[in-house]
């Protein structure tokens, strides 16, 4: 019985660690893949397409426009004065 409890605890611990932390492979992927989390790769910017639809173009104004449309308003954050003083 005791060994079963220890085994179960060990399995739960492994599962927790696997869920909470990136594996070394994931970490290597993150470091190796330079563009994995930049906005441009994830379509957060609105894209203008050319006639064939194969050459998406985005200008600085498009980005500004998308920021304005997508912004949530108030975020949960400290006051700027806690971070830096003017």
């Amino acid at each position: 019985m005791r060994s079963k409890i220890v085994t179960a605890a060990a399995l739960i611990g492994i599962a927790f660690l696997a869920g909470a932390c990136a594996t070394s492979e994931q970490w290597a992927e993150w470091r190796g893949h330079n563009s994995h989390f930049a906005s441009g790769d994830h379509g957060m910017f609105s894209m203008r397409n050319n006639m064939s639809g194969t050459n998406p173009r985005v200008t600085r104004l498009d980005i500004e426009n998308t920021r304005t449309q997508n912004w949530w308003g108030k975020t949960i954050s400290v006051e700027p004065g806690q971070v830096i003083q003017n």
């Binding site: 909470a20 993150w30 441009g40 954050s77």
Partner: protein
């Protein structure tokens, strides 16, 4: 087309023009001189307006996935005695949710953001003409903020890493005369998780060429602008 319909169309255009959002340009990301809370800060802000504008234009045009927040200027450590002024930039890094990033322990996430964004910003600040020989520019400050992975998409929690370092140690680090570990130990470093001040985290610094190499797919630079 009747005169009335022309007038109506014109009115619609005028109203649309009036309510269209006024987009911010590079100059809007610089903290106004008068918002600096000391004479030294205001003098620095006045003296280096062209350099600040150049810095802002670089971020605006060349790194469109970053947004300067709370004004580029000469700021100080909160509640610190004296008036040491740091050339300071606060950037928001826009990033889509990423499970691998989210799975990293907090200090790894912070290390990644520091290495990816804070170091290039420090390098850029240190290269601003005039700062190196100006005793009133005590050091450099970079704050990087990003959306906390897994936070409410309707009201995201922001994570912020803020660092302050003196000019001498920053230049020594950038010139590879000071190891990253020692540089980090010397700097003032604070991490904020939403509304909570977490404090200092054990961060690592490594090479990351993202800012130097990443191009937003299909991004069309404004005519006449050059990134270097």
């Amino acid at each position: 087309m009747s005169r009335r319909s022309v007038a109506s169309a014109l009115a619609v255009v005028l109203v649309a023009g009036a309510v269209a959002p006024a987009y911010a340009g590079p100059a809007d990301y610089i903290m106004p001189v008068e918002k600096h809370t000391s004479e030294k800060g205001r003098a620095l802000a006045t003296k280096y307006q062209p350099q600040l504008l150049q810095f802002s234009e670089y971020v605006y045009h060349c790194l469109p996935y970053l947004e300067i927040r709370n004004g580029l200027g000469f700021k100080k450590v909160p509640k610190e005695q004296g008036d040491n002024r740091y050339a300071a930039v606060w950037i928001r890094a826009e990033q889509a949710p990423d499970p691998t990033f989210a799975a990293l322990p907090m200090d790894r996430q912070v290390s990644a953001m520091f290495s990816r964004y804070a170091i290039p910003m420090l390098r850029r600040l240190a290269a601003v003409p005039g700062f190196a020989s100006d005793p009133d520019v005590y050091g450099f400050s970079v704050a990087v903020e990003w959306i906390k992975p897994g936070s409410d998409p309707n009201r995201p929690t922001m994570e912020i890493l803020a660092m302050f370092a003196d000019q001498a140690s920053t230049r020594a680090f950038l010139g590879m005369a000071l190891p990253a570990r020692e540089y980090v130990e010397k700097m003032r470093l604070t991490f904020f998780d939403g509304e909570k001040e977490v404090g200092r985290l054990p961060i690592e610094v490594w090479e990351d060429n993202f800012v130097a190499t990443y191009q937003v797919p299909g991004y069309e630079m404004e005519k006449g602008k050059v990134c270097s």
